[in-house]
Symmetry: C2
Subunit: 199 residues, 2 copies
């Protein structure tokens, strides 16, 4: 006879459907929730529904927001002449943590990836071009990841944007701060040499 607890199995499946969570971890997490207080389970459930309902994409830059505009787009102190183009909403949070950049963002929500059937039309590129057409925009920083898809998307965007009389730049790549030359891979070293700067 199988020891079958329907509701426990269901919860385990839900945890296992999360990225990077295997079957054993999912079982452990589900079990943890069973032994936690009922209030904790309810708080968790409420945060899930709450976050999913409240958070949507900013109508301008497509980043995450609980309002009509995201905190960056609605901030009057930001420099509206620069737009940093990133792949995912999480990338915006990474830049904001660095506290270095004071311009605006634009989230593509993916990269061009023909193998996965994702072309330019599936990304928020139309929305970007509309923003770039505004006279106040002077520079676009393309900050897609240094992956095959990220580079292809950057090249595609650069070609499109250069026709629009706007300065187009790409994020600097090279050896990460705190990294050791000895352990740096060849491609990163190549990019570090290409991107060398006079001091």
């Amino acid at each position: 006879m199988a020891y079958n607890l329907v509701s426990l199995n269901e919860l385990t499946e839900q945890f296992a459907s999360l990225p990077g969570i295997g079957k054993k971890t999912a079982a452990r997490l589900a079990f943890h929730m069973l032994t936690a207080s009922p209030e904790k389970a309810k708080r968790f459930a409420n945060s899930l529904i709450n976050a999913r309902e409240k958070i949507h994409f900013c109508s301008v830059c497509q980043a995450l927001t609980e309002e009509e505009l995201c905190p960056v787009c609605s901030d009057k102190k930001r420099d509206k002449s620069v737009i940093c183009v990133v792949e995912e909403p999480m990338d915006v949070l990474a830049f904001e943590r660095a506290r270095e950049y004071n311009g605006l963002y634009h989230v593509l929500h993916g990269t061009i990836s023909p193998l996965d059937g994702i072309g330019p039309d599936q990304l928020k590129i139309r929305e970007l071009l509309k923003r770039v057409a505004e006279p106040e925009v002077e520079e676009i920083i393309i900050a897609t990841n240094p992956s095959v898809e990220g580079e292809a998307t950057a090249a595609y965007l650069a070609r499109l944007l250069k026709q629009m009389s706007v300065k187009v730049s790409r994020l600097g790549f090279g050896i990460p701060i705190g990294g050791a030359l000895e352990h740096t891979d060849e491609i990163t070293l190549q990019r570090a040499i290409d991107g060398r700067q006079e001091i």
Copy 2:
């Protein structure tokens, strides 16, 4: 200005409160739920509440169940003369997966651990002694983990149970199947030699 999304932060905190989930993983999981369909978020939330509400401890063996009795205790085909004593409800599932054992279980819900302030009274030992007093019970297999606390709890239980005219045994420990002698630690090897059996 901080890029602050209250509901996203809350959900991230909930994920981070799970055992073995760090801050970065929690952020990734919370973000995954935002991009998942609203139905998925609702299903997840419902399974959380559902599992927490439906599942409780079996009134006899203290394992997890959705009914009054767990599937094992309510199964008339199980051998009611043997009780296997385990630390946690998950241990019952592990035994059931092995499909070898046909007796009953008793879940202690922990181990004696003076450093954490857990004495015999905090465990389900009283409930176990009541069951052992029944005339049909002939053998108790102590299956606590081979940790310091598990061994201490096993020794404590063995002393108690031996006064009750019942056979008391401990799970066999030794080299795991598929394991290599070369990589087996000293204590496991010691236990394997102590537990050697004639062939």
